[in-house]
């Protein structure tokens, strides 16, 4: 087991370095001189000197290899330079916005799992009934619905409903308060975006739970358990679900990336000041230092989530642990 964990943990490092290399190369593919683009974007004229100042400030007047080493070293030491747009350190810009995004992502994952696993199981057990049909339609719609559209619709609905009940439309709070300080205020801000962005997550997991459950229920050991006269509840919970959930766990890890991607758009809809919104702003403002740091952050979250999932998988499935 220890050996498995070590090899799996070590395998993360080349992926991360590879991703960092790719980001570094991508950001140098930008056509033309970043500084000229930036200085010229205001429409005004600029001197040769200010271009050189800008080069020195960004450190792009040095050899490529030095820049690359510095970028990698910066990733390890969390010194990613200053935002080209606000001038503040990139790490601070991100740290200020990370809590709200992480909270929504985790909340979305929890909502999704709580919905997906029971519904997927019921759908499999009642295969080809109207209940199954409803759950499957709900699931396939979740994959097709753009999260930002769902967000807009839910905002319209909340506005209309609260207007009808209280006379004045209710708006969620604008400033972020941590969950432990004021849970109601916090949740009134984060719950709706979490449900919106979690719908797809729930839909995908639901389909997976259903299909693996169907497969497992046909196994011989389930028939044996039935023949022994075990209660249906025990067969489902102990024998079937435990095995059926293995692929679902993997999927949850992979889909977490989609969740983060969805967050980029959803934060825009709900006007939340998280890293997703920061990412869009960074791209709009051609803030390359911030963009590359944010891309690396998302990649790191994705790679680490999958590492956790793999380790969890090994813990759940002895065949992998002892292989």
């Amino acid at each position: 087991m220890f050996r498995y964990i070590m090899t799996r943990v070590l395998a993360v490092i080349p992926t991360l370095i590879g991703a960092a290399t790719l980001v570094f190369i991508l950001m140098r593919l930008i056509p033309g001189d970043i500084c000229v683009v930036r200085l010229g974007s205001g429409g005004g004229s600029f001197s040769e000197h200010s271009v050189q100042m800008c080069h020195a400030e960004l450190g792009i007047d040095r050899p490529m290899i030095v820049q690359f080493a510095e970028f990698i070293w910066g990733l390890f030491t969390l010194n990613l330079g200053n935002s080209m747009w606000s001038g503040k350190p990139v790490v601070l810009e991100i740290a200020a916005r990370l809590p709200i995004s992480l909270e929504i992502a985790l909340l979305a994952a929890i909502v999704a799992i709580v919905i997906a696993i029971p519904l997927g199981t019921i759908s499999a057990l009642k295969q080809n009934t109207w209940l199954d049909l409803v759950v499957r339609t709900f699931a396939i719609a979740g994959i097709a619905t753009p999260s930002f559209w769902l967000g807009i619709l839910s905002i319209i609905m909340v506005l209309d409903v609260t207007q009808a009940i209280t006379g004045t439309p209710w708006m969620p709070p604008i400033d972020y308060v941590p969950l432990w300080k004021d849970p109601i205020r916090n949740l009134s801000m984060t719950l709706l975006p979490a449900i919106t962005v979690g719908y797809r997550y729930a839909a995908v997991s639901m389909r997976m739970t259903r299909s693996t459950m169907l497969e497992v229920m046909r196994e011989d050991y389930i028939r044996t358990a039935r023949a022994k006269g075990l209660l249906a509840k025990i067969i489902i919970n102990r024998h079937a679900l435990k095995n059926a959930l293995l692929p679902v766990v993997t999927l949850l890890g992979i889909e977490f990336a989609f969740l983060i991607g969805g967050l980029v758009v959803t934060e825009q809809v709900f006007n939340l000041n998280g890293i997703g919104r920061l990412f869009v702003l960074a791209v709009q403002n051609q803030d390359y230092t911030l963009t590359q740091a944010l891309v690396m952050l998302v990649v790191a979250i994705f790679v680490l989530t999958n590492l956790v999932v793999d380790l969890l998988y090994a813990w759940l499935d002895p065949r992998i642990r002892f292989a």
Binding site: P14, Q268, V280, V283
Partner: protein, 303 residues
């Protein structure tokens, strides 16, 4: 050595003797419709959207970009089927023209990304060994970037607009396709007819294209339909963020930007219909893809 090599056991495409009953294209389609009613619904949606996109000029009653300031945020009526937006543009016409944009981006990205992925995946499985390992590690790295994040990073480099959006969505689709195709191609490499082809002295390109690619077509086509849906969703997201297709090109994601939220309570149709169009289209492609999988891959049937 040429194809007319003097070998008795020159490889035949498997499809020729594997398919016992030969049907015409029409008969196959009818058979599919009878066996897969839900998939047929998906196919119908895809066809309707496709026809709307192709003949947008005939179906759209108004010019999608012309403003009518005497008819701003008008509710759906017989003159404006789905109402008008905050600039007095006919929403129905914009949705019809938006279908064209969505399909252009969706199909271009899916087909280009899919084919590059197909060739890389099959080649990776065919050559195996070190080149397979290097290619797969590279794909691992590319896969670590969520689709929309990768697309945004590419947009930040090349800028916005239809062509750049296609590039931005195509690149992240490549590793996703290569991965699936490789796993389907691995067992095919071990099949005797590939050895036979090699023994005949055929080149790598010929073996890959003529003997291996046709045999991974089923999973590939299934994935391609899913890719079109994904690409349409990605395009809508990018356009919604203002980083995709730019005004005045009519695009569904773009229609949800700005006015949709501003007029949320007074003119909800601005927000409802373009989103419905995105959802229905992606829904159609997913249903069709699912049915295609059931029809092409008997192992997965009855799930």
């Amino acid at each position: 050595m040429s194809a007319s090599a003097p070998f008795q056991f020159a490889p035949q495409p498997v499809t020729e003797d594997a398919v016992v009953i030969k049907r015409s294209a029409l008969a196959t389609t009818l058979y599919f419709c009878r066996r897969q009613p839900v998939g047929t619904l998906g196919m119908a949606i895809v066809l309707i959207i496709g026809i709307a996109g192709l003949g947008a000029e005939w179906f759209a009653p108004y010019n999608p970009t012309s403003n009518d300031f005497t008819a701003m945020t008008e509710a759906p009526s017989w003159t404006h089927l789905l109402g008008t937006d905050q600039l007095g543009r006919d929403i129905f016409s914009r949705i019809v023209f938006g279908a064209r944009t969505a399909l252009i981006v969706g199909f271009s990205s899916a087909i280009v990304g899919g084919f590059v992925g197909l060739v890389l995946g099959v080649a990776s499985a065919y050559f195996g060994g070190r080149s397979d390992m290097i290619l797969q590690r590279f794909m691992d790295i590319l896969m670590a970037f969520p689709l929309i994040i990768m697309a945004l990073a590419i947009v930040s480099i090349f800028g916005t607009g239809v062509h750049n959006v296609i590039v931005a969505i195509t690149i992240p689709l490549i590793p996703r396709c290569a991965r699936v195709v490789r796993s389907s191609a691995l067992p095919i490499r071990e099949v005797p007819y590939v050895d036979a082809a090699r023994a005949c002295g055929f080149g790598h390109t010929r073996i890959i294209l003529r003997h291996m690619v046709p045999n991974v077509m089923a999973p590939f086509l299934i994935m391609l339909t899913a890719f079109v849906g994904q690409a349409i969703l990605a395009e809508a997201s990018l356009s919604y963020l203002g980083l995709g297709v730019q005004e005045p090109v009519p695009a569904w994601g773009l229609m949800l930007q700005g006015g949709a939220e501003e007029y949320a309570t007074t003119a909800p149709w601005i927000a409802v219909f373009p989103g419905l169009a995105i959802m229905l289209t992606v829904f159609g492609f997913n249903l069709f893809g699912d049915a295609l999988r059931d029809a092409l891959d008997p192992k997965l049937r009855e799930r």
